[in-house]
Amino acid sequence: MTYSIEGWQEPTLAENLERAGVSRRDFLKFCGGLAAVFAAGTTVFGPVTKAHADDPTDTPTAGDIADVLGGMTKPNVVWLQLQECTGCVESVLRSGGTTVEDVVLSLLSLNYQEVIMAPSGEAAEKVLYDTLAEDHILVVNGSVPTKDNGIYCVIGGKTSEQILKDAAKNATHILAVGACAVWGSVQASHPNPTRAVGVDQIIKNKPVINVAGCPPIGEVITATVAYILTHGKAPKTDAEGRPLFAYDQRIHDSCPRRSHFDAGQYVRTFDDDAARNGWCLYQVGCKGPSTFAACPIIQWNMHTSWPVGAGHPCIGCTEKNFFDRFTPFYSVLPNVPGLGVEATATKIGLGLVAAAAIGATAHAGVTAARHASGKEREKEAEAMAAFGDEEGWIVADQADQLVDEPVDETINDEPGKAEK
């Protein structure tokens, strides 16, 4: 499929799409996909359109979404790229072909998008600040370095923190797209030399929708923007600000390799038969059980593949601090900090058990030695007496000690007189 994107020239989105070569049929398919992503038809995420806000059971169809989305006049979308690698944009644009998602996203975000916009220099800055003066949707890629007054990321003479604050001022919705914008990603990992933080660390007076991932799936980015446009409000999010429609399930729970997990069939090394058979990657460190994302379902590059599908364990890139918390990527459990690089939980745990066993043995040895040395002998003898045994009758071992014992008083007879 090839579409020609020529910018926003017609009044509505539907007309612009038609101009770009997107047929009504393809657009409806796209909207049907969105409806599925938003879980329309269920009440899980609430009513889908403004028109249906009061009746969660009367959920809209793909046609309803197409009507609302297609009827949109040009929205103002500002797309900032701060301290980042452009991987998130690549994730959307370089998907193996131009998709309806690309066209929609490109059309929507044309006001200011450093990678794909035509203007540059002063002209680009003017477009940005003209747009920022009006209501707009703000999409942010990249983290904000805060150390040394934020000089580690300066664009057009302004620090990224300043740009972000300016851009957030009139924003109706703020989307932090990608791990950098969500929490800082690799540059915010230990030791975080530029003290990079995510968008919601800077913008605290407005809700920030975190489209997490490194990078997030292009469809999820588009769907989040489309959700705001069609619903006029932010989607429901989880405790970390991620839209629930895409981040409500663990990778593990919809993984195509899940049956191998349940069967106990694991890849042990990346070159074994199990790997060739496509078994579960849990034991080579897959973080699917710890990671909430829609990767196994939506996948990448027009549903071509995704990391686990390609035989690599999930590294948990949609989770906060995954470089610090989810490493080593190829181990089931993280290492124990402060005890050296080789200190895995199993080693430490078994060492602890061994130490307990050695400690108990040593303690038992000392106890035995104390006993043998006779310190407790007295107590011992007393115990025997309590059961009616007299010392004279304790044999063998202690016989030598008994020679000089005073004679039992119960023996009254004089020596040699018993029978006389």
Binding site: A263, T291, F387, W393, V395, D413, G416
Partner: protein
Amino acid sequence: MTDQLEGKVEPGDVIAGAAYSLGSMSEGRIMALAAASPPNSVDPVDIALKQGMDRGYPQIRVPDVDADDFDPATPNRRYSLTRVRAYTRASGAVEDLVVMRGEMASILEKVKVGREHGSLLKRKSNIAIHRGWRPLAVATARVDADDKLGPFRLQGFVAVSSNADRSQIDEDILTGPATWARISVWSPSLRIQHWANVALIFILSCTGFFIMEPFFSQPAYAGAASGFLMGWVRLIHFVAAFAWIVVAAARVWSAFTSSDRYLRWRAMWPLWKTEDLKNLGRTVLHYTFIRTEGPTYLGHNPLQQLTYTGVYGLCLVQMLTGFTLFALAHPTNAFWAFLATPVHIFGVPAIRLFHTIVMFLLWGFVIGHVYLVFRADTVERHGGLSAMVNGGVWVRRGTRPVDAPVIE
């Protein structure tokens, strides 16, 4: 023979039991030689041995002994010497023998016994002693034609006992002032919970370790069913985990409602008085071999109790982290989403790590716990091990435990 057993026993109060041979002479002959005494002897032991011969070995004749040939035991020499003339050995040889008969320890002074026989003898006679018998050792020496006495050789022993003594033992244990009393300490509910914990922690550890480290798996051949190994392991883990939580809930319930003060919440914190803290220090010093005696407690000593309270804390962490991990499968349910809250603070891998480390800490506790239980039962002889089965500990009468009135 003088009475070495009891000064005031009457004839008939003493009975002779089984004889034990070291191998070179039959039991019957050992008992016969032990019974060899002047016919007019009124010593209860002599009478008991002769009666024992009549009862046990009627076919063996007890040798006749002249009063002059019998040298009874004295307080300074706790064995008698008897000359048996013209004794017919099993081989048919006729010879004179001198029989040494008496207290085991004294005879062992005079007689050489090889290590092999010695340990056998020690074991056998200790068994007899513990059953309330006393071993009357029997050694013999040959007298040659020149009337010269050869070396004494230990032949075995005859178990003798005083009837009066035997009943006295039972009475002593039950009522005697210097003996032991059984005190019921642990309620059935606590014991059931304890063993439920043992079983569930064992099951949870085995399955949990496998979930952490699935170290074995079945290879799947073409066409073979792949099974549901991890599925079953996880199911068992989850079922056991919920059962464990029920046990924990019962324990918490009893901590606040039980009338048994050993179960109460207050008992978990032996830190209420300065005396408690001092006893905690004393117990630590006792266990590190610095103090000879530690404070006596009927229930748990402060160190022990604080350890158990700490283990309750560990178990609580284990249940909460377990709940958190379990909750990940149900993020849209408000209850589970709430239980999964720690994930947003620590991240899932850290929760899994805590869950694993607590498991290893519990293993370490189990080793120390089992060791100290066996040690205490051996050293203090209070029956602590069986107490977790039948609920009772044994305490010396007159003991003044810190946590109970004097045991009478």
